[in-house]
Subunit: 77 residues, 12 copies
């Protein structure tokens, strides 16, 4: 559930937050956009779990994907 | 999943937080009370999803409703 | 699962459709608005099941409730 | 999960039962009606959790709401 | 959600209980066996919802089916 | 998820609708009754998924089974 | 789903009830406390399923665990 | 839950239908194929929610993806 | 959760596998067909849990039922 | 859903956050470790709900347990 | 639920296994990698169902996707 | 989701199997007993997820706990 640095230690505590990212291109890009924004204020993000995948439609086509993810990061110290 | 201002742009990132509000009056008022408190520190709240509805009982009547909601808001910048 | 007229007969077939209604006032009113619209084209609606309750927020208050319901109606003949 | 009298003690045992109440007026009233009936035989009801919200439809309008709740009460002695 | 006699009135309260019935013959018979036993002490059973279907196996064959059901009945008076 | 004719082609689009069928005899018969009615207006039904199994009770016995199914059919052209 | 005495017979009917037990010590002790109380009025309890695990917190530590369980017991006769 | 045009008004009613689209290329393309077909008869599609993602396998590789989506569209007038 | 022979001992370990059986006749027969095949290579099957019930449709009728089950068996030694 | 001090008042608002704690010893210890860390920055934690229980395995044994919890705390003022 | 060869026959039995595949590129590639490995020992894989989508994060970006799938294959003979 | 050795590489494939372990002592011991048995034939077990917690009751006390877990292990080569 986290990167290898965390795994050799059993005393880490993680917090999970839920984000929604968007992208006109793909589900993967919507997730990356959420991470890119979160990275500005959160260090040590380790893993994510996709919880919902949605799309907004304009003229019968996907205008952009919207993906909700739970992101886990290490609480330091 | 958000207000109309957000919808014309596909590059927004949202965060969802989970709150529990209470009210002796109604389910709707319990939700509004949660929002009223959250508004003090969170700007740009856009939508909410009710996840649990509970009630506390005194003398065989509802003393107050307790409603859990996930609230989505825009992460700026 | 249906009105009393249906219950004495075991040979009815129902269809369930999913609607989303809105109202600035209450969860109940959002449901009634969905029914009012559906009534224009569907006869014999019998029961509904609430599947999701959401709210849209403007300035830290509920602007309107959005409620998803599955509506069951009798398929005639 | 219970009233304040229970909370200072960690040795309480609760039972949960599932009820369905009805009301032509609102979701809240349907719950209160279930409690009013249960109160005749059950003392010490503490909290409830809404598990299902349904409505019966007549002529394209809600005739009455039907709400299923789990009610927790203290098992005495 | 109940028999036609209940449906013309919106003031009924129901209780749901959960039973597990068994039968070597079929899923339906396992349910009927649960009802046959419950009938000895509960009047006014109205509907049931199947929540789990299981089977016990002996020598690579179903020895008996075990079906869990929630049964709703009218609380009188 | 569909009949063999569909399977050699990857360009089919299906629609799923939700039906509720009834029968005093068995779960299987309740499903067949839903299909028999749906067949009058829907061609190309391919598969179904049972989503709920219920029973209506009279005098402590199943009066009729009520089974909800999602039915998938090919959208032509 | 039950003790060995029940298993050689396929004609048993079980009832499931839902209890919540508490203990400052452990999840297992919270369950045992629920059983100890239930034993006063229910004979023939056979198995249980944990449905929820919660904890009440005082000063940043678990004050007591609260565990909800479904308990199955044989309906005699 | 819908495009920006809908959001300034709280009186819209939406219908959700469930479709399954296929594509040998990607999950996203399977969704777009479902929309392309639905567009022939449905105007005003606003958003979708992915409910299931499946794949058909030939010779140990994905032959085509099959994605189920719920599509919401505005009911006019 | 297993046959009576297992129940007097608390040191058994079980494995659960998931199978899908088919039958044109009934849900029960589809399950029995899965067991009949599994029996060729697995000894000591004890119980099963139905996880999904589906049907394949030809000409508006069920061509065959497809039932997914989790089967538990004792790991020896 | 909170400590007794909160219960006499119906006007509290809670926030729930999701944490993951670890411990080589037990499920309970993994939860306590998450609380011990959270306590450094969060006052007024009231209750928690276990949402996931996992374990990391080394050489065929549990190396450490990892438990995800939702923690509710009072939002002051 | 399987390839066309299986569909004309109703007597097939399938087994489902659960795999987790990884890829730095996409969700689809993670699935294909799981299949490529499984193909070495399993013949007759027919379909898969995605059950979980996760990502591992390094430096605020997805390092690789991890996708859990249930794969169904024909049990021969 | 796996040990640190796996984490630096994104090309691993895992299989998940479902086991049920028993112990008269604790939930944790029931899990360890399942692993101890599985270890005889499976190498490279990495993590587990608890999916069900049950208990068998004799004379109103837990006779033994039964815990179902999904165990993930690396598929080599």
């Amino acid at each position: 559930m986290s990167s290898w640095k965390d795994f050799s230690m059993s005393d880490h505590v993680y917090k999970k937050i839920e984000l929604v990212g968007s992208s006109p291109e793909s589900i993967e890009a919507a997730v990356e956009n959420a991470l890119a924004r979160a990275k500005k204020t959160i260090r040590n993000m380790r893993w994510l779990e996709v919880t919902e995948t949605r799309g907004h439609i304009e003229n019968g086509k996907i205008d952009h994907w919207q993906v909700a993810v739970k992101v886990g990061f290490t609480l330091e110290g």
